[in-house]
Point group: D2
Chain length 145, copies 4
């Protein structure tokens, strides 16, 4: 995790590496287009872990984070046994929603895939949307100063 | 579902048909060996539905059925867009465990895969093994005379 | 498949039904957000089959259709054992790209998910983009009159 | 990889660690029973990599390794976000088949799952079984003295 000091704002960044599994490929020899979702999930989970919390602890506290919007563009295919590098970015302080931006690259720094995913904080008990939990907000606020 | 009148015993049989999805193939052009598990799951769920109950209603009553043993043998690959035919057999009255036998065939009646899967009845509250619920036993007993 | 006679244009529509598998759920009790991709794949494959061709035969003729863009919005979760109804629409005559529009509904006609997916025709030999194959264009053209 | 000097024979061992992804869980809150197959796949692929080769290079040389037999027993469930430790063992020199033995453990050294998987060497061109490729045999032989 790096706190990037951009002039017009800050962000929280996680970098995670994967090696493509056979299970993730399809008959075309590429990663099946639906299987990138699991990479993106790992990226945001690891970003939360970098912050000193975890998605699991959110659930343990009664907060769910179902996905609301998922947009992805495929530039080049990821292939079996390839090492791929995922950058996950939180570009603004979340309120009742949290949006992650993704860039997936090859070892040669070619962009394979980009994505934007928005999740909603949901109270497990009421099954209603809620604001970002205080404890999580406190961990993120310093990065968006 | 057919109640087969074998001389040395009875069984409960379900037949379910699938068409192989691209998502289920791998780079070899075959169904990925781990993806057959989902076909077998559907087979036993449909067998229960034939009996007039459902796996979902079991869970709603607080009973889980985690898998204990899974053995499968692959004879011929199932391929993309192929229609495949799954026979699921309950060959004996379950007690605290329930065992399903499977034969997966092509449209040409070639055996693709066989499997045996044993699941355990677990009480969700106590997280301990339990005997088959009475309501389910009553639905099965007539078939095992 | 129905050829709808809208005033401002035509479309090709396929309707496909699924029952949610346990394999497709996650710990939240919902269909995992990446697993909808397989439903959408089946929708477009069945639309092509309605037209009298198949995705498989395209591949056999040396044409691949990798996904270029995938956008989806989740309104309500699909749950285990639920019957869900997918409408797949081809709203305009494809050129070098083909775009499918999706609406996934519950039995109660509630919208669960919408999606738009664009795929690119690729020549397997050259690995380069190509125009829609003549044979496929001929099957689609009458619907876009 | 360690060459273990057992009195009655040798073996080749790989140890690989995973963190359970949300995508791998099901509604029960456990890893879906079919998803362990992907862990086992990674285990044998990493064992080959330890030896100085790779499953990918086998395929590039025209050798496929489809699974023939897959047996697994589930003792305890693996759960979301859990770190799990997979030991993959090659316990005898392969001939025309290759058998991997697996033990999956928790961080507390509890056995979660065991498995045995046998794969067959297949010549991609002829689609017929074949003996283990010479190049691979040479890398393994020293370990089985």
């Amino acid at each position: 995790m790096v706190r990037e000091g951009y002039i017009f704002g800050c962000m929280i960044v996680n970098n995670t590496r994967f090696r493509v599994r056979y299970a993730e490929t399809d008959q075309m020899g590429y990663v099946y287009y639906g299987n990138y979702a699991a990479f993106f999930e790992v990226g945001r989970v690891e970003l939360l872990r970098d912050l000193g919390t975890s998605y699991k602890s959110l659930e343990d506290e009664g907060v769910m984070l179902p996905v609301r919007d998922f947009t992805t563009r495929y530039f080049r295919p990821a292939k079996y046994d390839q090492e791929i590098f995922l950058e996950t970015r939180l570009e603004e302080m979340p309120g009742s929603r949290i949006t992650f931006h993704y860039t997936l690259k090859s070892a040669e720094d070619e962009v394979l895939t980009t994505a934007v995913i928005t999740l909603v904080f949901v109270d497990m008990k009421t099954q209603r949307p809620m604001k970002i939990p205080e404890s999580l907000a406190k961990l993120m606020q310093p990065h968006f100063g």
